[in-house]
């Protein structure tokens, strides 16, 4: 079965918090290369890993992950203000 591509905001969230891939990987218990694969959207995480990431960033899973390309966070913030 071919799974759908899952888009995410991990790279933006990690950069925003100024943490390294290595640090994030240690915090959620995966290899640092897995973070790279996730950021490049080349790997779809399991539900467990998705929840771990949402808990780490303190954001809902549906905000971090999506089955459709996500808008830039600045654009969403601007739209919410209006």
């Amino acid at each position: 079965m071919k799974s759908r591509k899952i888009y995410n905001r991990i790279l933006v969230l990690r950069k925003e918090r100024n943490i390294t891939r290595q640090k994030l990987a240690e915090e959620i218990g995966v290899n640092f290369q897995t973070i790279g694969y996730l950021e490049r959207e080349e790997y779809n995480p399991s539900l467990d890993l998705a929840i771990k990431l949402s808990e780490y960033f303190g954001l809902p899973v549906e905000f971090i992950f999506s089955t459709e390309p996500q808008k830039p966070m600045s654009q969403e913030l601007y739209q919410n203000r209006q």
């Binding site: 290899n31 640092f32 290369q33 897995t34 694969y37 080349e42 790997y43 399991s46 467990d48 890993l49």
Partner: protein
């Protein structure tokens, strides 16, 4: 952290590694049939050196050997997927190779396989999954 080696470089060294293994096998059988000479011994030593160096470079430095031989409990979910896929493909390739050798031996009515060929098959069984990962993965 393991050293990052580009995919092209990894592929090149995987080819060199298997090529040197087949050359050792070729030199050994040639030496056995034509009679041992200093040339064959020297060729085997040189090829064995290349074989060992390429093994260290492609499987040792990248930690691919370790990745494939580590318990899945110590790997993360992506690594488990990568290793399982590599093992699945390698198993198919290895089985086909072994069956071809067995059938060709049966066809030419040759005796049981010798120790050098058995060692090569053992080496292939252990390195094929790592070679598959080295060949296909973006980062290792």
């Amino acid at each position: 952290m393991n050293k990052q080696i580009s995919k092209t470089s990894r592929r090149f060294w995987v080819i060199i590694n298997y090529l040197s293994m087949f050359l050792i096998l070729g030199f050994f059988y040639n030496g056995k049939s034509c009679g041992w000479s200093h040339t064959f011994t020297f060729a085997i030593i040189i090829t064995a050196g290349i074989f060992i160096l390429s093994f260290i470079y492609v499987y040792g430095i990248t930690h691919l050997w370790k990745l494939v031989h580590t318990s899945s409990k110590k790997l993360d979910e992506r690594q488990v997927q990568v290793v399982h896929r590599a093992l699945q493909i390698s198993y198919s390739i290895f089985v086909i190779m072994v069956l071809l050798i067995i059938y060709s031996y049966a066809l030419v009515e040759k005796g049981p396989i010798d120790v050098v060929l058995a060692a090569c098959l053992l080496y292939l069984a252990h390195t094929l999954p790592a070679a598959f990962i080295a060949w296909t993965e973006k980062e290792v």
